[in-house]
């Protein structure tokens, strides 16, 4: 196991611990991230297992991405209160599932999941923008405290935007020039670490409600 695997798995584990510690204070949609990070953690462990045996572990991420997307869809469904936005979400969920299945024709199960990642990143960016638009037109008060969901969506937004080109070109670069793909992979890891750190900070710095 290399150092960045330790850091990545450690941050995911820290996210799980922070959610458990602050569980009573957290709103329902944030508590659901317990499943999200637990699934991520299990996939990372399984990935490390296959990697240590010298086997291709990319198929695990082909399985993980649909589950990640389904979870994030449900998370945004809880955040959106307008029926119009919920309809957009359901339509996107169905279309993404179709695309994810079709992407297997472009990226086989043993190749990097570029198409699936690109699709996920685009949709998550759009959903985050819809959420920000809702914040923009609402009368929510950010004078004393910013909701955790705002930070979580910010993390997802930046992660998705940053990873769009990186993950999108990863499969091609792995087959043409592996050295570049490794450099870009570090950038991808940095963005994943950033999301985990933003999530942890959002939960840790959540103010306790005044009695």
């Amino acid at each position: 196991m290399v150092w960045y695997d330790f850091v990545g798995s450690g941050l995911i584990l820290l996210c799980i611990i922070v959610i458990l510690v602050r569980y009573p204070l957290l709103p329902h949609e944030i508590r659901l991230f317990l499943f999200y990070f637990t699934l991520n953690f299990l996939i990372e462990i399984a990935s490390e297992f296959f990697s240590s045996k010298g086997q291709n572990n990319l198929f695990l991420y082909h399985i993980l991405i649909p589950f990640q997307y389904a979870f994030l869809c449900y998370y945004f469904l809880l955040l959106f209160d307008q029926t119009k936005n919920k309809k957009i979400l359901l339509v996107s969920a169905i279309s993404v599932v179709v695309v994810l299945i079709l992407s297997l024709f472009f990226n086989s199960i043993s190749q990097y999941y570029s198409y699936a990642s690109m699709m996920k990143n685009i949709i998550i960016s759009v959903l985050a923008l819809i959420y920000f638009r809702r914040i923009f037109i609402s009368n929510v008060n950010f004078e004393n405290h910013v909701e955790e969901s705002v930070w979580v969506c910010t993390g997802l937004f930046i992660n998705s935007l940053g990873n769009f080109f990186i993950e999108g070109s990863m499969n091609y670069l792995m087959e043409t020039d592996r050295s570049i793909s490794i450099k870009l992979y570090y950038l991808h890891l940095a963005l994943d670490f950033l999301f985990s750190i933003i999530f942890i900070c959002a939960i840790i710095f959540k103010k306790k409600p005044v009695a």
Partner: protein, 264 residues
């Protein structure tokens, strides 16, 4: 080949950084915008609250002034009239039927006047009488009350087509009229009070003038205790979007001018 690879790497990294920058900018802008929007809303609420408090204060002052007027009217006018009627009736001599008849007639006139004065007073005890009578009629009534004292001549001039202002603005303006009239009665030693109401298209003008002793308005410019009532009037006019101007010349009198644009 190596150079092309470096270019590809540079392009992808730069593209990613630009997208991340854009995302960060959007989020920061959103948070700043929401904070400023909240602060702006709080300021508006404070102004609305202040406005409502001023309206309430003006209403209370009008009520207080009305009760004072009533008390004065009952004591000075109605009380005197009824006392005179009582005196007339007490001094009637049954042995002088002509004189007695005259005194009875005089007493009837006095009692009728007292009844009319009481009717007029009861109107003003209705606190919504400005809204019911209209601003111009309420001002006319105030001038009539002052004229009845016998110490002042009053003139009311109305030009243009009278139209109803917003209720809260009429209340504030009426309170200002009362305060100006009070100041004239207390301080000016005037003999003539003139109020001009001019309803022009889009704007309403009001001018209250007296031919009294006038005063030096220089201390008003300074932030002193003197002129607190006038500064209060000025603040109230600003609150309803009107303009307040006071001019005075020693021995020639004082003029208060208020202009208020109509809002649709």
């Amino acid at each position: 080949m190596h150079k092309i690879d470096e270019e590809i790497l540079f392009t992808i990294v730069l593209g990613s950084i630009l997208l991340i920058g854009l995302g960060t900018f959007i989020v920061v802008f959103l948070l700043q915008y929401q904070k400023r929007k909240f602060r702006h809303r709080q300021d508006i609420l404070k102004l609305q609250d202040s406005f409502q408090q001023n309206i309430l204060r003006a209403q209370l002052e009008i009520q207080e002034q009305t009760l004072k007027n009533i008390s004065q009217e009952v004591h000075d006018n109605i009380g005197q009239v009824l006392s005179l009627a009582k005196l007339n009736l007490a001094t009637t001599d049954i042995n002088q039927p002509d004189a007695m008849q005259q005194k009875i007639e005089d007493s009837k006139t006095l009692v009728a006047k007292a009844i009319q004065d009481l009717r007029d007073l009861s109107k003003s005890m209705n606190t919504d009488y400005i809204a019911e009578m209209g601003f111009a009629s309420a001002v006319e009534y105030e001038l009539e009350m002052i004229k009845k004292t016998g110490s002042f001549e009053t003139v009311l001039e109305i030009s243009g087509v009278a139209r109803k202002l917003e209720a809260q603005k009429e209340l504030i303006l009426f309170r200002i009229v009362q305060e100006v009239l009070n100041n004239i009665i207390k301080h000016s030693k005037a003999k003539l009070i003139t109020i001009k109401l001019n309803y022009k298209p889009g704007i309403f003008f009001m001018q209250i003038t007296d031919n009294g002793s006038g005063f030096d308005i220089t201390p008003l410019q300074e932030n002193s205790k003197f002129g607190l009532g006038i500064r209060n009037m000025k603040n109230r006019t600003h609150l309803i979007g009107a303009r307040f101007e006071i001019t005075s010349t020693l021995d020639l009198g004082t003029s208060v001018n208020i202009s208020l644009p109509f809002t649709n």
